[in-house]
């Protein structure tokens, strides 16, 4: 079936079908949350920026969350050896990201001047790194357990 959304979908038909479900569910939840927000505007004022950010966050969190929990990201991880190897890969990817982020920050923004700048920079770095690691770890764990059962 030809559709402009095809470029966003994986080649494997099971993954493709699941992703289409997640996008559709996300779209309906987004629609309902927008309706709720419209109703809410009759009772209190919602800032336009906040409303738009909330709508985007709802859709992104839902689709990403469903994808991570579905355990279909790491389709070939079914043995303990490959599982442990992939954990090391995730760990090194997270470290590389942190290093590159730190390097780019120092090049383009410069060395933080005071303690609050350092805290802000490191806080963001640690939070993003931690979320990225945990998301990948959960996805890997779910995929491993799912694949093990399918052997």
């Amino acid at each position: 079936m030809k559709s402009w959304i095809s470029f966003l979908l994986p080649d494997d038909e099971y993954k493709e079908k699941k992703m289409l479900y997640f996008f559709s569910e996300g779209a309906i939840i987004l629609f309902l949350s927008l309706l709720i927000m419209i109703i809410c505007t009759y009772f209190f004022t919602i800032n336009v920026g906040t409303a738009l950010l909330l709508a985007i966050a709802i859709f992104l969190f839902y689709v990403t969350g469903r994808y991570v929990i579905s355990g279909m990201e790491y389709t070939d991880i079914a043995t303990e050896h490959s599982y442990k190897k992939e954990i090391k890969n995730i760990y090194s990817r997270t470290c590389s990201f942190a290093f590159i982020y730190l390097l780019l920050y120092l090049i383009f923004v410069g060395i933080p001047g005071d303690r609050s700048d350092w805290t802000g920079m490191l806080g963001l770095l640690i939070s993003v790194g931690f979320i990225s690691f945990i998301t990948n770890y959960i996805s890997l764990r779910r995929s491993y357990h799912k694949n093990k059962e399918l052997l």
Binding site: D11, D12, E13, Y14, K15, M72, T75, D76, A78, S143, K146, N147, E149, L150, L151
Partner: protein, 66 residues
């Protein structure tokens, strides 16, 4: 939908990964098909049947028809 994919694949000494590669799917998808947890498209059914040198009737059938 019931299927014989796992038995036929093992008879041909083929791994899930090898079959997956030949039909353009992932190993997980082949595993799900073998367990009856995912009903593949006709296109994928035909590709699997071709790789295993079987007809669609040999590989797939509806449970209530037996």
């Amino acid at each position: 939908m019931k299927n014989n994919v796992k038995i036929m694949r093992m008879k041909m000494s083929m791994t899930q990964e090898q079959l997956a590669k030949r039909v353009g799917a992932t190993r997980q998808t082949i595993g799900l098909i073998e367990k009856g947890e995912y009903n593949p498209s006709l296109q994928l059914c035909v590709a699997i049947a071709k790789e295993l040198n079987k007809t669609l009737d040999d590989l797939f059938w509806e449970e209530n028809l037996l």
